[in-house]
């Protein structure tokens, strides 16, 4: 037995002991499985071959499955979040457009309006326009707050309704409910 194989034998023995003490990392465990699945198992360690081959086989199939499942779930989660963000941004964008359009109509709609301030009537639209606009803004803000919450609540349902694959839909429902 040369020095190298002697060293490897000792290292492997240490790892085996560590394994049965429950102290190995996943990498060290995979090292052990590879060693015992190989052809050059030391005769002194032959007694462990079967058991480590079995332990190695327990792990083999399932790591890929779990990775696949995790990747698929993460991909779906990103799609869900992106879709929800797109819906919310579209609604906010439309609301802003309507507000800009409304500003130009303000003068024609509200000509003839007045404000009583400190007992004085103020008719000048240029003077009272900021006050009217502020009041309308406040009302719109309150209305939008109530509307956005409803959008968030219905966004999830809209996304689910657009997923036709039953399997994917169930996965998304599970994610949203977690």
């Amino acid at each position: 037995m040369n020095k190298n194989s002697g060293y490897e034998h000792e290292k492997t023995k240490e790892l085996i002991e560590k394994f049965f003490d429950g102290n190995t990392s996943l990498t060290e465990e995979r090292q052990l499985y590879r060693y015992f699945n190989g052809r050059n198992v030391d005769t002194g360690l032959e007694q462990y071959r079967d058991i480590f081959v079995c332990f190695g086989n327990m792990a083999e199939d399932c790591h890929d499955t779990s990775k696949q499942t995790r990747t698929t779930v993460i991909r779906m989660l990103f799609r869900t979040v992106a879709a929800a963000a797109a819906v919310i941004l579209t609604v906010i964008g439309i609301a802003r457009l309507e507000k800009d359009d409304g500003k130009t109509k303000l003068a024609s709609i509200y000509s003839g309006s007045y404000v009583i301030k400190n007992g004085k009537r103020i008719d000048n639209l240029k003077d009272i326009q900021p006050i009217i606009e502020q009041t309308l803004d406040d009302a719109e803000h309150i209305e939008r707050m109530a509307g956005e919450q409803n959008v968030i609540n219905t966004a999830e349902q809209e996304i689910l309704d657009n997923i036709h694959d039953k399997y994917n839909r169930e996965r998304i429902i599970q994610l949203l409910n977690n």
Partner: protein, 150 residues
């Protein structure tokens, strides 16, 4: 547990593609968790989901081993057949372990979950997980050497 049962069944059905098998599996999961209820910390949802997944994978693996050999008539004495037989024997031994040890061993060896993650799922500390894992592995080793009858 009653609250989470529908989710567990749905998860098991996705793996097993069989409503009856899914029900049976979830029943086994409930039973296992009931036996360690005194050590369980709430919420145990993650643990229940993980255990369900584990058992589905074990079940699929058992089916694969059972139906894996091609010819029923001639005895297969190839090294691969020996390995399959050893794995079957080992899984029987694992099934006979105390519930806590079984759960931890499965999470580690079947799902490849890290020790600190297992500790999180089971709401315990790493030292406890390592202790149970060590005991489980040593039990499996000793019974396997003796001839593997659980």
């Amino acid at each position: 547990m009653v609250r989470i049962r529908p989710r567990l069944i749905a998860q098991a059905q996705r793996y097993l593609n069989d409503a009856d098998a899914a029900e049976d599996t979830v029943q086994d999961v409930m039973l296992k968790l009931w036996t360690i209820r005194n050590d369980l910390k709430v919420p145990a949802d993650n643990l229940a989901m993980t255990v369900t997944r584990n058992m589905c994978i074990s079940s699929l693996r058992c089916k694969k081993l059972q139906y894996g050999t091609a010819d029923g008539d001639t005895a297969d004495t190839s090294p691969e057949a020996d390995t399959q037989e050893h794995i079957r024997r080992m899984m029987d031994i694992v099934d006979s372990l105390p519930t806590m040890q079984q759960l931890i061993l499965r999470m580690r060896h079947i799902q490849g979950i890290d020790i600190h993650e297992i500790a999180d799922i089971m709401h315990t500390n790493e030292a406890n997980v390592r202790k149970n894992l060590s005991r489980a592995r040593q039990s499996v080793r000793d019974k396997f050497r003796k001839g593997g009858t659980p």
